[in-house]
Amino acid sequence: MTQKYRAAPKDDLIWHDLDSMMLLYHRPSGITHMLADPVPAIIEVMANAPLTAAEIAARLTALFDVETGVDAEDIVIARLDELRTLGLVSRVSG
């Protein structure tokens, strides 16, 4: 899959770490999202650049000690779809 995804602009987001979970306030919608791993890490590595799910999974593996025995790319795709329905991630055409 070469579909690229882009996270909402950093200026639109306010993060708050609660140890057991991360809160994310999305300014344009006024909605607060409670995020569990790996979602905060996914948004963090996307860093405003358009990336494929494979590229995101690769960055996660490079920056974190990723749980073994899982298909990271498939899980990233599932979480990106979830984030798209929430308006936090968009698909990039071309």
């Binding site: 006024g30 999202h33 790996p38």
Partner: protein, 143 residues
């Protein structure tokens, strides 16, 4: 992250790597990926003290005061009046009910298909603080 620290690690601890420049040992944070089907987000919408009836009666001006005098381009951005293909301001405010129906395929009252699309795109771009934002936010479908 330092790329050098990713090349080799201590044999017995794959998550601990030595920064070859400084000899500093760094441990990457463990990241649980969860299951494919496991949702990882719970969303809290802003508290809007309105009944279902009044939500649909709330109004959205196109454009709002913050963009008075502007025209609406096909993608919903506010542009100058001489922009080719842009639509003038709507002659009336639209109710939440009308916008909800427009988002589900009908056109906004008194508009052509393209004009309605442009207006809906404008509404989708509304941000907190802009007139009509609260009305639009209250229309968003719950997960």
């Amino acid at each position: 992250m330092d790329e050098n620290s990713m090349k080799e690690g201590l044999p017995s601890e794959s998550s601990v790597e030595t920064d070859q420049k400084n000899g500093i040992v760094t441990r990457r944070r463990a990241l649980m990926m969860g299951a494919i089907t496991a949702s990882a987000v719970v969303s809290i919408k802003p508290a809007l003290a309105q009944t279902a009836g009044s939500v649909l009666n709330c109004e959205i001006p196109v454009p709002g005061n913050h963009a008075a005098g502007g025209y609406i381009a096909a993608d919903g951005t506010v542009v100058t009046a001489d922009t080719p293909g842009a639509f003038p301001a709507a002659g009336r405010n639209f109710t939440g009910e009308e916008v909800l129906q427009a988002m589900n395929g009908r056109t906004l009252p008194g508009t052509s298909y393209d004009q309605s699309q442009a207006y809906v795109n404008y509404i989708r771009r509304l941000q907190s603080g802009q007139s009509g934002f609260t009305c639009y936010a209250s229309l968003q479908m719950p997960r």
